[in-house]
Protein backbone atom coordinates (compact mmCIF):
# COMPACT_ATOMS: atom_id res chain seq x y z
CA UNK A 1 0.00 0.00 0.00
CA UNK A 2 1.14 3.50 -0.72
CA UNK A 3 0.56 5.25 2.58
CA UNK A 4 0.59 8.83 1.50
CA UNK A 5 -0.77 10.99 -1.27
CA UNK A 6 -0.37 11.99 -3.98
CA UNK A 7 -1.42 8.75 -5.60
CA UNK A 8 -1.07 7.80 -9.24
CA UNK A 9 -4.37 7.34 -11.04
CA UNK A 10 -5.92 5.04 -13.60
CA UNK A 11 -8.71 5.54 -16.08
CA UNK A 12 -11.57 3.07 -16.43
CA UNK A 13 -10.39 0.34 -14.07
CA UNK A 14 -14.00 -0.71 -13.60
CA UNK A 15 -14.81 -0.82 -17.29
CA UNK A 16 -11.75 -2.93 -17.99
CA UNK A 17 -12.42 -5.28 -15.09
CA UNK A 18 -15.99 -5.88 -16.25
CA UNK A 19 -14.85 -6.68 -19.78
CA UNK A 20 -12.24 -9.13 -18.50
CA UNK A 21 -14.77 -10.85 -16.28
CA UNK A 22 -17.37 -11.01 -19.04
CA UNK A 23 -14.98 -12.94 -21.30
CA UNK A 24 -15.51 -16.04 -19.19
CA UNK A 25 -18.88 -15.21 -17.65
CA UNK A 26 -21.40 -15.28 -20.45
CA UNK A 27 -24.29 -14.62 -18.09
CA UNK A 28 -23.11 -11.07 -17.52
CA UNK A 29 -25.22 -8.41 -19.21
CA UNK A 30 -24.36 -4.72 -19.24
CA UNK A 31 -27.16 -2.15 -19.01
CA UNK A 32 -26.70 1.55 -19.55
CA UNK A 33 -28.92 4.44 -18.57
CA UNK A 34 -27.55 6.84 -21.16
CA UNK A 35 -24.25 7.38 -19.35
CA UNK A 36 -22.18 4.81 -21.18
CA UNK A 37 -18.82 6.53 -21.42
CA UNK A 38 -19.20 8.17 -18.02
CA UNK A 39 -19.69 4.77 -16.41
CA UNK A 40 -16.76 3.24 -18.31
CA UNK A 41 -18.91 0.68 -20.15
CA UNK A 42 -18.15 1.95 -23.64
CA UNK A 43 -15.44 -0.69 -23.33
CA UNK A 44 -18.07 -3.39 -22.80
CA UNK A 45 -20.26 -2.04 -25.58
CA UNK A 46 -17.34 -2.27 -28.01
CA UNK A 47 -16.34 -5.77 -26.92
CA UNK A 48 -19.71 -7.46 -26.37
CA UNK A 49 -22.38 -5.48 -28.23
CA UNK A 50 -24.80 -8.44 -28.12
CA UNK A 51 -24.76 -8.37 -24.31
CA UNK A 52 -24.99 -4.60 -24.03
CA UNK A 53 -28.51 -3.24 -23.49
CA UNK A 54 -29.08 0.45 -23.86
CA UNK A 55 -32.07 1.18 -21.65
CA UNK A 56 -32.13 4.87 -22.42
CA UNK A 57 -33.00 7.55 -19.90
CA UNK A 58 -35.57 5.40 -18.13
CA UNK A 59 -34.19 4.12 -14.86
CA UNK A 60 -37.43 2.67 -13.51
CA UNK A 61 -37.81 0.47 -16.58
CA UNK A 62 -34.13 -0.38 -16.57
CA UNK A 63 -34.13 -1.65 -12.99
CA UNK A 64 -37.38 -3.64 -13.26
CA UNK A 65 -36.16 -5.16 -16.52
CA UNK A 66 -32.82 -6.07 -14.92
CA UNK A 67 -34.70 -7.94 -12.20
CA UNK A 68 -36.57 -10.01 -14.79
CA UNK A 69 -33.35 -10.76 -16.70
CA UNK A 70 -31.80 -11.94 -13.44
CA UNK A 71 -34.77 -14.28 -12.90
CA UNK A 72 -33.80 -16.04 -16.11
CA UNK A 73 -30.17 -16.70 -15.31
CA UNK A 74 -28.44 -13.50 -16.32
CA UNK A 75 -26.32 -11.31 -14.06
CA UNK A 76 -27.19 -7.77 -15.14
CA UNK A 77 -24.77 -4.97 -14.24
CA UNK A 78 -26.82 -1.75 -14.31
CA UNK A 79 -24.96 1.52 -14.84
CA UNK A 80 -25.76 5.15 -14.24
CA UNK A 81 -24.88 7.85 -11.75
CA UNK A 82 -25.49 6.98 -8.10
CA UNK A 83 -28.49 9.28 -7.76
CA UNK A 84 -30.24 7.69 -10.74
CA UNK A 85 -29.24 4.19 -9.66
CA UNK A 86 -30.80 4.44 -6.20
CA UNK A 87 -32.97 7.41 -5.30
CA UNK A 88 -34.90 7.59 -8.57
CA UNK A 89 -35.82 3.89 -9.03
CA UNK A 90 -36.04 3.04 -5.33
CA UNK A 91 -39.44 1.36 -5.48
CA UNK A 92 -38.34 -0.69 -8.49
CA UNK A 93 -35.21 -1.80 -6.64
CA UNK A 94 -37.35 -2.84 -3.67
CA UNK A 95 -39.99 -4.77 -5.59
CA UNK A 96 -38.15 -6.08 -8.65
CA UNK A 97 -34.68 -6.71 -7.22
CA UNK A 98 -34.22 -6.65 -3.44
CA UNK A 99 -37.39 -8.43 -2.33
CA UNK A 100 -37.00 -11.25 -4.91
CA UNK A 101 -33.29 -11.34 -3.91
CA UNK A 102 -32.03 -11.35 -7.48
CA UNK A 103 -28.38 -11.04 -8.60
CA UNK A 104 -28.63 -7.57 -10.10
CA UNK A 105 -25.56 -5.36 -9.68
CA UNK A 106 -26.47 -1.68 -9.42
CA UNK A 107 -23.36 0.34 -10.21
CA UNK A 108 -23.67 3.99 -9.24
CA UNK A 109 -20.95 6.44 -10.22
CA UNK A 110 -20.09 9.90 -8.89
CA UNK A 111 -20.69 9.46 -5.15
CA UNK A 112 -21.45 12.17 -2.64
CA UNK A 113 -20.06 15.59 -3.43
CA UNK A 114 -17.52 14.35 -5.95
CA UNK A 115 -19.60 16.24 -8.51
CA UNK A 116 -20.22 19.99 -8.55
CA UNK A 117 -23.46 19.16 -10.37
CA UNK A 118 -25.71 20.19 -7.53
CA UNK A 119 -28.05 18.10 -5.38
CA UNK A 120 -29.70 16.54 -8.45
CA UNK A 121 -26.43 14.80 -9.29
CA UNK A 122 -24.98 14.22 -5.82
CA UNK A 123 -25.65 10.82 -4.28
CA UNK A 124 -25.47 11.76 -0.62
CA UNK A 125 -27.99 9.23 0.72
CA UNK A 126 -27.54 6.28 -1.65
CA UNK A 127 -25.72 4.16 0.91
CA UNK A 128 -28.45 4.84 3.48
CA UNK A 129 -31.19 3.89 1.03
CA UNK A 130 -29.50 0.70 -0.12
CA UNK A 131 -28.39 -0.29 3.39
CA UNK A 132 -32.00 -0.17 4.56
CA UNK A 133 -33.10 -2.78 2.03
CA UNK A 134 -33.16 -6.44 3.08
CA UNK A 135 -30.93 -8.70 0.94
CA UNK A 136 -28.83 -5.81 -0.42
CA UNK A 137 -25.02 -5.81 -0.26
CA UNK A 138 -23.47 -2.33 -0.25
CA UNK A 139 -19.90 -1.73 -1.42
CA UNK A 140 -18.04 1.62 -1.54
CA UNK A 141 -14.49 1.05 -2.75
CA UNK A 142 -11.45 3.29 -2.37
CA UNK A 143 -9.15 2.71 -5.31
CA UNK A 144 -8.48 1.04 -8.65
CA UNK A 145 -7.06 -2.11 -7.06
CA UNK A 146 -10.15 -2.57 -4.92
CA UNK A 147 -12.40 -1.88 -7.90
CA UNK A 148 -10.77 -4.65 -9.93
CA UNK A 149 -11.04 -7.12 -7.08
CA UNK A 150 -14.56 -6.08 -6.09
CA UNK A 151 -15.92 -6.68 -9.59
CA UNK A 152 -14.67 -10.26 -9.44
CA UNK A 153 -16.02 -10.70 -5.92
CA UNK A 154 -19.52 -9.32 -6.33
CA UNK A 155 -20.38 -11.26 -9.47
CA UNK A 156 -21.00 -14.38 -7.40
CA UNK A 157 -23.04 -12.79 -4.60
CA UNK A 158 -26.39 -14.60 -4.62
CA UNK A 159 -28.49 -11.48 -4.09
CA UNK A 160 -28.34 -7.85 -5.24
CA UNK A 161 -25.33 -5.58 -4.82
CA UNK A 162 -24.96 -1.82 -4.89
CA UNK A 163 -21.46 -0.84 -6.00
CA UNK A 164 -20.54 2.81 -5.47
CA UNK A 165 -17.76 4.12 -7.69
CA UNK A 166 -15.80 7.31 -8.15
CA UNK A 167 -15.98 8.70 -11.67
CA UNK A 168 -12.97 9.71 -13.76
CA UNK A 169 -9.41 9.44 -12.50
CA UNK A 170 -9.21 6.63 -9.95
CA UNK A 171 -6.37 6.69 -7.41
CA UNK A 172 -4.17 3.65 -6.93
CA UNK A 173 -3.74 3.34 -3.18
CA UNK A 174 -3.32 -0.38 -2.73
CA UNK A 175 -0.68 -2.60 -4.28
CA UNK A 176 -1.24 -5.93 -5.99
CA UNK A 177 -0.96 -7.66 -2.60
CA UNK A 178 -4.23 -6.04 -1.47
CA UNK A 179 -7.03 -8.45 -0.72
CA UNK A 180 -10.55 -7.12 -1.03
CA UNK A 181 -12.95 -9.06 1.18
CA UNK A 182 -16.73 -9.12 1.15
CA UNK A 183 -16.75 -10.41 4.70
CA UNK A 184 -13.89 -8.81 6.66
CA UNK A 185 -13.19 -5.25 7.66
CA UNK A 186 -9.60 -4.46 6.80
CA UNK A 187 -7.39 -3.15 9.60
CA UNK A 188 -4.71 -1.14 7.80
CA UNK A 189 -3.03 -0.09 11.01
CA UNK A 190 -3.73 -0.53 14.70
CA UNK A 191 -3.86 2.26 17.23
CA UNK A 192 -4.83 2.92 20.82
CA UNK A 193 -5.80 6.57 20.90
CA UNK A 194 -8.20 6.88 18.04
CA UNK A 195 -9.53 4.61 15.30
CA UNK A 196 -10.37 6.06 11.89
CA UNK A 197 -12.96 4.06 9.91
CA UNK A 198 -13.43 5.06 6.28
CA UNK A 199 -14.79 3.88 2.98
CA UNK A 200 -14.60 4.96 -0.64
CA UNK A 201 -13.24 8.37 -1.41
CA UNK A 202 -12.64 9.18 2.24
CA UNK A 203 -10.14 6.39 2.80
CA UNK A 204 -7.30 8.46 1.36
CA UNK A 205 -8.26 11.36 3.63
CA UNK A 206 -8.30 9.02 6.62
CA UNK A 207 -4.84 7.71 5.75
CA UNK A 208 -3.51 11.25 5.36
CA UNK A 209 -5.13 12.25 8.66
CA UNK A 210 -3.63 9.22 10.40
CA UNK A 211 -0.19 10.37 9.30
CA UNK A 212 -0.78 13.89 10.63
CA UNK A 213 -2.14 12.61 13.94
CA UNK A 214 0.69 10.07 14.23
CA UNK A 215 3.24 12.80 13.67
CA UNK A 216 1.57 14.68 16.54
CA UNK A 217 2.24 11.75 18.82
CA UNK A 218 -1.02 9.83 18.71
CA UNK A 219 -1.43 6.13 18.25
CA UNK A 220 -3.91 5.93 15.37
CA UNK A 221 -5.71 2.94 13.91
CA UNK A 222 -7.22 2.87 10.41
CA UNK A 223 -9.92 0.50 9.19
CA UNK A 224 -10.87 0.32 5.53
CA UNK A 225 -14.55 -0.63 5.38
CA UNK A 226 -15.62 -0.93 1.75
CA UNK A 227 -18.41 -3.37 2.53
CA UNK A 228 -20.92 -1.39 4.52
CA UNK A 229 -23.45 -4.18 4.37
CA UNK A 230 -23.23 -6.92 5.47
CA UNK A 231 -21.03 -5.26 8.07
CA UNK A 232 -18.17 -7.16 9.68
CA UNK A 233 -19.31 -6.22 13.17
CA UNK A 234 -16.92 -8.51 15.04
CA UNK A 235 -13.85 -7.38 13.11
CA UNK A 236 -14.88 -3.79 13.57
CA UNK A 237 -15.52 -4.25 17.28
CA UNK A 238 -12.12 -5.80 17.81
CA UNK A 239 -10.48 -2.72 16.29
CA UNK A 240 -12.78 -0.33 18.15
CA UNK A 241 -12.16 -1.95 21.50
CA UNK A 242 -8.41 -1.30 21.11
CA UNK A 243 -8.96 2.47 20.82
CA UNK A 244 -10.30 5.22 23.06
CA UNK A 245 -12.34 6.97 20.41
CA UNK A 246 -13.64 6.41 16.88
CA UNK A 247 -13.95 8.70 13.85
CA UNK A 248 -15.86 7.63 10.76
CA UNK A 249 -15.29 9.32 7.40
CA UNK A 250 -17.67 8.99 4.45
CA UNK A 251 -18.48 10.95 1.31
CA UNK A 252 -22.18 10.73 2.18
CA UNK A 253 -24.66 12.09 4.67
CA UNK A 254 -23.77 11.23 8.24
CA UNK A 255 -27.30 9.85 8.52
CA UNK A 256 -27.76 6.26 7.50
CA UNK A 257 -24.39 5.41 5.98
CA UNK A 258 -21.03 4.23 7.28
CA UNK A 259 -21.10 6.46 10.36
CA UNK A 260 -24.54 5.25 11.35
CA UNK A 261 -23.57 1.63 10.79
CA UNK A 262 -20.53 2.01 13.05
CA UNK A 263 -22.62 3.87 15.65
CA UNK A 264 -25.08 0.99 15.75
CA UNK A 265 -22.27 -1.51 16.32
CA UNK A 266 -20.76 0.55 19.13
CA UNK A 267 -24.10 1.19 20.83
CA UNK A 268 -25.26 -2.41 20.69
CA UNK A 269 -21.91 -3.73 21.94
CA UNK A 270 -22.06 -1.74 25.16
CA UNK A 271 -18.57 -0.35 24.55
CA UNK A 272 -18.15 3.21 25.79
CA UNK A 273 -16.34 4.90 22.92
CA UNK A 274 -16.79 8.46 21.80
CA UNK A 275 -17.73 8.64 18.13
CA UNK A 276 -17.35 11.49 15.65
CA UNK A 277 -18.80 11.21 12.17
CA UNK A 278 -17.17 13.09 9.29
CA UNK A 279 -19.56 13.45 6.38
CA UNK A 280 -22.27 15.70 5.06
CA UNK A 281 -23.95 17.15 8.14
CA UNK A 282 -27.56 16.54 7.08
CA UNK A 283 -27.35 19.06 4.28
CA UNK A 284 -27.57 19.28 0.52
CA UNK A 285 -24.50 20.73 -1.17
CA UNK A 286 -24.49 23.74 -3.46
CA UNK A 287 -22.36 26.43 -4.91
CA UNK A 288 -19.00 25.26 -6.12
CA UNK A 289 -17.00 24.99 -9.29
CA UNK A 290 -15.35 21.71 -8.38
CA UNK A 291 -15.39 18.79 -5.97
CA UNK A 292 -12.38 20.08 -4.03
CA UNK A 293 -14.29 23.18 -2.98
CA UNK A 294 -17.30 21.07 -1.96
CA UNK A 295 -15.19 18.68 0.11
CA UNK A 296 -13.75 21.71 1.91
CA UNK A 297 -17.03 23.60 2.25
CA UNK A 298 -18.96 20.64 3.62
CA UNK A 299 -16.34 19.27 6.01
CA UNK A 300 -14.92 16.32 4.11
CA UNK A 301 -11.25 17.30 4.07
CA UNK A 302 -8.25 15.64 5.68
CA UNK A 303 -8.20 18.52 8.13
CA UNK A 304 -11.81 17.76 9.08
CA UNK A 305 -10.84 14.18 9.90
CA UNK A 306 -7.88 15.42 11.97
CA UNK A 307 -10.08 17.90 13.83
CA UNK A 308 -12.73 15.27 14.51
CA UNK A 309 -10.13 12.89 15.94
CA UNK A 310 -8.61 15.65 18.05
CA UNK A 311 -12.03 16.45 19.48
CA UNK A 312 -12.93 12.82 19.99
CA UNK A 313 -10.02 12.31 22.36
CA UNK A 314 -10.89 15.60 24.11
CA UNK A 315 -7.76 17.49 23.19
CA UNK A 316 -8.36 21.19 23.70
CA UNK A 317 -5.09 22.50 22.29
CA UNK A 318 -5.01 23.39 18.58
CA UNK A 319 -5.16 20.36 16.30
CA UNK A 320 -2.18 19.73 14.04
CA UNK A 321 -2.49 21.04 10.51
CA UNK A 322 -2.80 18.72 7.54
CA UNK A 323 -0.26 19.66 4.85
CA UNK A 324 -1.51 20.76 1.48
CA UNK A 325 -0.57 18.05 -0.99
CA UNK A 326 0.48 19.30 -4.38
CA UNK A 327 -0.54 17.16 -7.31
CA UNK A 328 0.53 17.10 -10.91
CA UNK A 329 -1.89 16.11 -13.68
CA UNK A 330 -2.71 12.42 -13.38
CA UNK A 331 -2.17 12.37 -9.65
CA UNK A 332 -4.80 12.28 -6.90
CA UNK A 333 -4.77 13.57 -3.35
CA UNK A 334 -7.61 13.92 -0.86
CA UNK A 335 -8.70 17.45 -0.05
Amino acid sequence: MRNLPPYPTELKPYGRALVELARTREEILCLSGDLTRQTEIDLFQDEFPERFIHAGMAEANMVSMAGALARRGFVPFVHTFGVFATRRPLDQIVNCVAYPNLPVRLVGFMPGVSSPGGPSHQAIEDVALMRALPNMTVVDVADATEIRQAVGAIVDVAGPVYLRLKRGEIPVIFGADHEFSLTSAQVLQSGEDVLLVASGMMLSAALAAAQVLGDAGLSVGVVNLPVIKPLDSSGLLAAISDARAVVTAENHSVIGGLGSAVAEVIAESGLARRLRRVGLADTFAEGAKDATSLFRKYGLSTQDVVDAAWGAIERHDPAPRAPVVETTPGEYAPV
Binding site: R51, A55, G56, N61, M65, A68, F74, P100
Partner: protein, 267 residues
Protein backbone atom coordinates in the same frame (compact mmCIF):
# COMPACT_ATOMS: atom_id res chain seq x y z
CA UNK B 1 -65.38 -19.53 -33.44
CA UNK B 2 -68.15 -22.11 -33.39
CA UNK B 3 -70.97 -21.99 -30.87
CA UNK B 4 -69.75 -24.99 -28.88
CA UNK B 5 -66.29 -23.49 -28.41
CA UNK B 6 -67.79 -20.16 -27.47
CA UNK B 7 -70.05 -21.86 -24.89
CA UNK B 8 -67.14 -23.81 -23.43
CA UNK B 9 -64.96 -20.69 -23.07
CA UNK B 10 -67.86 -18.82 -21.49
CA UNK B 11 -68.38 -21.65 -19.00
CA UNK B 12 -64.65 -21.60 -18.30
CA UNK B 13 -64.87 -17.89 -17.52
CA UNK B 14 -67.76 -18.57 -15.16
CA UNK B 15 -65.77 -21.31 -13.43
CA UNK B 16 -63.01 -18.73 -12.82
CA UNK B 17 -65.65 -16.42 -11.34
CA UNK B 18 -66.94 -19.21 -9.13
CA UNK B 19 -63.45 -19.99 -7.82
CA UNK B 20 -62.88 -16.30 -7.13
CA UNK B 21 -66.18 -16.05 -5.23
CA UNK B 22 -65.11 -19.01 -3.09
CA UNK B 23 -61.70 -17.45 -2.43
CA UNK B 24 -63.07 -14.15 -1.17
CA UNK B 25 -66.10 -15.66 0.60
CA UNK B 26 -64.35 -16.45 3.92
CA UNK B 27 -63.10 -12.85 4.08
CA UNK B 28 -66.41 -11.19 3.26
CA UNK B 29 -64.69 -8.82 0.87
CA UNK B 30 -61.83 -8.74 -1.60
CA UNK B 31 -60.60 -8.39 -5.14
CA UNK B 32 -63.54 -10.17 -6.70
CA UNK B 33 -64.23 -7.41 -9.20
CA UNK B 34 -60.82 -7.89 -10.80
CA UNK B 35 -61.59 -11.59 -11.33
CA UNK B 36 -65.02 -10.74 -12.73
CA UNK B 37 -63.70 -8.21 -15.22
CA UNK B 38 -60.75 -10.33 -16.41
CA UNK B 39 -62.58 -13.69 -16.43
CA UNK B 40 -63.08 -14.00 -20.19
CA UNK B 41 -59.56 -12.81 -20.99
CA UNK B 42 -58.07 -15.26 -18.50
CA UNK B 43 -60.35 -18.05 -19.73
CA UNK B 44 -59.23 -17.57 -23.33
CA UNK B 45 -55.58 -17.15 -22.34
CA UNK B 46 -55.57 -20.38 -20.35
CA UNK B 47 -57.44 -22.44 -22.94
CA UNK B 48 -54.42 -23.09 -25.14
CA UNK B 49 -52.67 -19.77 -25.75
CA UNK B 50 -50.63 -19.76 -22.56
CA UNK B 51 -48.36 -22.79 -22.14
CA UNK B 52 -46.79 -23.03 -18.66
CA UNK B 53 -43.11 -23.82 -18.87
CA UNK B 54 -42.83 -22.39 -22.38
CA UNK B 55 -44.49 -19.00 -22.08
CA UNK B 56 -44.21 -16.43 -19.30
CA UNK B 57 -47.03 -14.85 -17.32
CA UNK B 58 -46.74 -11.55 -15.50
CA UNK B 59 -49.60 -10.18 -13.39
CA UNK B 60 -48.66 -6.53 -13.06
CA UNK B 61 -51.49 -5.43 -10.76
CA UNK B 62 -50.75 -7.77 -7.85
CA UNK B 63 -54.34 -7.83 -6.61
CA UNK B 64 -55.37 -9.53 -9.88
CA UNK B 65 -53.45 -12.57 -8.72
CA UNK B 66 -56.80 -13.98 -7.57
CA UNK B 67 -57.65 -14.47 -11.25
CA UNK B 68 -54.32 -16.19 -11.86
CA UNK B 69 -54.87 -18.53 -8.91
CA UNK B 70 -58.27 -19.42 -10.35
CA UNK B 71 -56.67 -20.11 -13.73
CA UNK B 72 -53.97 -22.24 -12.08
CA UNK B 73 -56.70 -24.37 -10.51
CA UNK B 74 -58.60 -24.51 -13.80
CA UNK B 75 -55.45 -25.84 -15.47
CA UNK B 76 -54.93 -28.42 -12.74
CA UNK B 77 -51.76 -26.76 -11.44
CA UNK B 78 -53.23 -25.62 -8.12
CA UNK B 79 -55.58 -27.56 -5.88
CA UNK B 80 -58.86 -26.35 -4.50
CA UNK B 81 -57.39 -26.92 -1.02
CA UNK B 82 -54.66 -24.40 -1.84
CA UNK B 83 -57.21 -21.92 -3.16
CA UNK B 84 -59.08 -22.26 0.13
CA UNK B 85 -56.08 -20.72 1.92
CA UNK B 86 -56.24 -17.56 -0.23
CA UNK B 87 -55.32 -14.52 1.85
CA UNK B 88 -55.25 -16.46 5.14
CA UNK B 89 -52.48 -16.35 7.76
CA UNK B 90 -49.53 -18.47 6.68
CA UNK B 91 -50.79 -19.02 3.13
CA UNK B 92 -48.49 -18.77 0.13
CA UNK B 93 -51.47 -17.47 -1.82
CA UNK B 94 -51.42 -13.89 -0.61
CA UNK B 95 -54.23 -11.62 -1.73
CA UNK B 96 -51.77 -9.22 -3.34
CA UNK B 97 -49.22 -11.37 -5.14
CA UNK B 98 -45.79 -11.98 -3.63
CA UNK B 99 -42.71 -14.06 -4.46
CA UNK B 100 -44.52 -17.05 -2.92
CA UNK B 101 -47.41 -16.78 -5.37
CA UNK B 102 -47.69 -20.00 -7.37
CA UNK B 103 -48.43 -20.27 -11.08
CA UNK B 104 -47.28 -16.80 -12.17
CA UNK B 105 -43.71 -15.92 -13.19
CA UNK B 106 -43.76 -12.40 -11.81
CA UNK B 107 -46.41 -10.55 -9.88
CA UNK B 108 -46.47 -6.87 -9.09
CA UNK B 109 -48.27 -4.93 -6.44
CA UNK B 110 -46.51 -1.64 -6.80
CA UNK B 111 -48.38 -0.72 -9.95
CA UNK B 112 -46.77 0.08 -13.25
CA UNK B 113 -43.76 -2.23 -12.94
CA UNK B 114 -45.06 -5.42 -14.52
CA UNK B 115 -44.61 -4.42 -18.14
CA UNK B 116 -40.92 -3.75 -17.48
CA UNK B 117 -40.65 -7.22 -15.95
CA UNK B 118 -42.33 -8.62 -19.05
CA UNK B 119 -39.88 -6.73 -21.24
CA UNK B 120 -37.00 -8.25 -19.26
CA UNK B 121 -38.44 -11.75 -19.67
CA UNK B 122 -38.97 -11.15 -23.40
CA UNK B 123 -35.38 -9.97 -23.78
CA UNK B 124 -34.16 -12.99 -21.81
CA UNK B 125 -36.10 -15.33 -24.11
CA UNK B 126 -34.55 -13.66 -27.14
CA UNK B 127 -31.02 -13.78 -25.69
CA UNK B 128 -31.52 -17.47 -24.89
CA UNK B 129 -32.78 -18.13 -28.41
CA UNK B 130 -36.17 -19.30 -27.13
CA UNK B 131 -38.09 -18.12 -30.17
CA UNK B 132 -41.20 -20.10 -29.20
CA UNK B 133 -41.77 -18.17 -25.98
CA UNK B 134 -44.50 -15.56 -25.65
CA UNK B 135 -44.51 -13.27 -22.63
CA UNK B 136 -48.03 -12.37 -21.50
CA UNK B 137 -48.42 -9.35 -19.22
CA UNK B 138 -51.74 -8.55 -17.60
CA UNK B 139 -52.09 -4.81 -17.02
CA UNK B 140 -54.99 -2.78 -15.68
CA UNK B 141 -56.17 0.49 -17.16
CA UNK B 142 -55.59 2.46 -13.95
CA UNK B 143 -51.93 1.47 -14.18
CA UNK B 144 -51.59 3.47 -17.37
CA UNK B 145 -51.39 6.52 -15.10
CA UNK B 146 -47.93 5.26 -14.02
CA UNK B 147 -45.16 6.69 -16.19
CA UNK B 148 -43.07 3.53 -16.07
CA UNK B 149 -45.61 1.72 -18.24
CA UNK B 150 -44.76 4.11 -21.06
CA UNK B 151 -41.02 3.81 -20.48
CA UNK B 152 -41.44 0.08 -20.96
CA UNK B 153 -43.80 0.44 -23.93
CA UNK B 154 -41.34 2.71 -25.74
CA UNK B 155 -38.42 0.41 -25.02
CA UNK B 156 -40.29 -2.74 -26.09
CA UNK B 157 -41.20 -1.26 -29.45
CA UNK B 158 -37.68 0.04 -30.01
CA UNK B 159 -36.35 -3.47 -29.33
CA UNK B 160 -38.99 -5.00 -31.61
CA UNK B 161 -40.20 -7.43 -28.97
CA UNK B 162 -42.74 -9.33 -31.03
CA UNK B 163 -42.82 -12.00 -28.31
CA UNK B 164 -44.54 -9.62 -25.89
CA UNK B 165 -48.33 -9.45 -25.50
CA UNK B 166 -50.15 -7.15 -23.09
CA UNK B 167 -53.63 -8.04 -21.91
CA UNK B 168 -55.08 -4.75 -20.74
CA UNK B 169 -58.10 -5.11 -18.49
CA UNK B 170 -59.84 -1.82 -19.20
CA UNK B 171 -62.50 -2.02 -16.51
CA UNK B 172 -62.58 1.72 -15.83
CA UNK B 173 -62.04 1.06 -12.13
CA UNK B 174 -59.48 2.36 -9.69
CA UNK B 175 -59.53 2.90 -5.93
CA UNK B 176 -61.11 6.34 -5.94
CA UNK B 177 -63.67 5.55 -8.62
CA UNK B 178 -63.94 5.26 -12.38
CA UNK B 179 -60.57 5.79 -14.09
CA UNK B 180 -62.29 8.13 -16.54
CA UNK B 181 -63.37 10.40 -13.66
CA UNK B 182 -59.80 10.75 -12.38
CA UNK B 183 -57.49 10.85 -15.39
CA UNK B 184 -58.27 10.80 -19.08
CA UNK B 185 -56.35 7.83 -20.39
CA UNK B 186 -58.20 7.66 -23.71
CA UNK B 187 -57.57 7.16 -26.50
CA UNK B 188 -55.88 4.02 -25.18
CA UNK B 189 -55.47 2.25 -28.50
CA UNK B 190 -53.99 5.23 -30.29
CA UNK B 191 -51.54 5.75 -27.43
CA UNK B 192 -50.13 2.24 -27.79
CA UNK B 193 -50.13 2.46 -31.57
CA UNK B 194 -48.24 5.72 -31.47
CA UNK B 195 -45.66 3.98 -29.27
CA UNK B 196 -45.15 1.40 -32.00
CA UNK B 197 -47.44 -1.35 -30.74
CA UNK B 198 -50.18 -3.31 -32.47
CA UNK B 199 -53.43 -2.59 -30.61
CA UNK B 200 -56.71 -4.51 -30.65
CA UNK B 201 -59.64 -2.83 -28.91
CA UNK B 202 -62.31 -5.43 -28.09
CA UNK B 203 -65.29 -6.26 -25.87
CA UNK B 204 -63.41 -8.06 -23.10
CA UNK B 205 -66.40 -10.19 -22.19
CA UNK B 206 -66.81 -11.53 -25.74
CA UNK B 207 -64.69 -14.68 -25.76
CA UNK B 208 -64.64 -14.88 -29.55
CA UNK B 209 -63.41 -11.30 -29.91
CA UNK B 210 -60.76 -11.80 -27.21
CA UNK B 211 -59.65 -15.08 -28.77
CA UNK B 212 -59.22 -13.54 -32.19
CA UNK B 213 -57.28 -10.53 -30.85
CA UNK B 214 -55.07 -12.76 -28.74
CA UNK B 215 -54.23 -14.99 -31.70
CA UNK B 216 -53.29 -12.00 -33.85
CA UNK B 217 -51.20 -10.58 -31.00
CA UNK B 218 -49.22 -13.77 -30.50
CA UNK B 219 -48.48 -13.95 -34.22
CA UNK B 220 -47.54 -10.29 -34.58
CA UNK B 221 -43.95 -9.27 -35.27
CA UNK B 222 -44.32 -6.24 -33.05
CA UNK B 223 -45.33 -6.02 -29.37
CA UNK B 224 -49.11 -6.15 -29.14
CA UNK B 225 -51.82 -5.12 -26.74
CA UNK B 226 -55.34 -6.50 -26.38
CA UNK B 227 -57.44 -3.74 -24.87
CA UNK B 228 -60.28 -5.65 -23.24
CA UNK B 229 -63.21 -3.37 -22.39
CA UNK B 230 -64.73 -4.87 -19.27
CA UNK B 231 -66.75 -4.29 -16.12
CA UNK B 232 -65.90 -5.26 -12.54
CA UNK B 233 -69.41 -6.54 -11.94
CA UNK B 234 -69.85 -8.47 -15.18
CA UNK B 235 -71.15 -11.99 -14.90
CA UNK B 236 -72.78 -11.74 -11.48
CA UNK B 237 -76.32 -10.46 -11.80
CA UNK B 238 -76.86 -10.84 -8.07
CA UNK B 239 -74.41 -8.08 -7.13
CA UNK B 240 -76.20 -5.02 -5.79
CA UNK B 241 -76.44 -1.87 -7.86
CA UNK B 242 -73.46 0.39 -7.22
CA UNK B 243 -71.16 -2.29 -5.75
CA UNK B 244 -67.58 -0.97 -5.43
CA UNK B 245 -65.91 -3.06 -8.08
CA UNK B 246 -62.39 -2.40 -6.85
CA UNK B 247 -63.03 -4.04 -3.49
CA UNK B 248 -66.31 -5.91 -3.35
CA UNK B 249 -68.06 -6.64 -0.06
CA UNK B 250 -69.83 -9.98 -0.18
CA UNK B 251 -72.06 -11.35 2.60
CA UNK B 252 -72.64 -15.07 3.13
CA UNK B 253 -76.11 -14.62 1.59
CA UNK B 254 -74.62 -12.92 -1.45
CA UNK B 255 -72.01 -15.68 -1.74
CA UNK B 256 -74.82 -18.25 -1.78
CA UNK B 257 -76.68 -16.30 -4.44
CA UNK B 258 -73.52 -15.90 -6.54
CA UNK B 259 -72.66 -19.59 -6.35
CA UNK B 260 -76.24 -20.52 -7.28
CA UNK B 261 -76.22 -18.11 -10.23
CA UNK B 262 -72.89 -19.33 -11.60
CA UNK B 263 -73.73 -23.00 -11.12
CA UNK B 264 -77.08 -22.47 -12.84
CA UNK B 265 -75.13 -21.14 -15.83
CA UNK B 266 -73.09 -24.32 -15.85
CA UNK B 267 -69.89 -23.11 -14.14
Amino acid sequence: MDAARRRELQRRADRLRLRAVRMVAPHGFGYLGQALSSAEVMAVLSAGAYRPGVDELVISPGHYVIAAYAVGAEMGLLSDDELATYGQDGSHLEAIGTETSPFVDVTGGSLGQGLSSGVGLALAARLHGRSDTTVFVLLSDGELEEGQVWEAAMFAAHQGLGNLVVLLDANDSQVDGPVSSITTIEPIGEKWESFGWVAHDVDGHDVAAVDKALGLSIAAKRPSVVIARTSTTHGLECLPEGADGHFIKISPELVAAAVAELEARGA
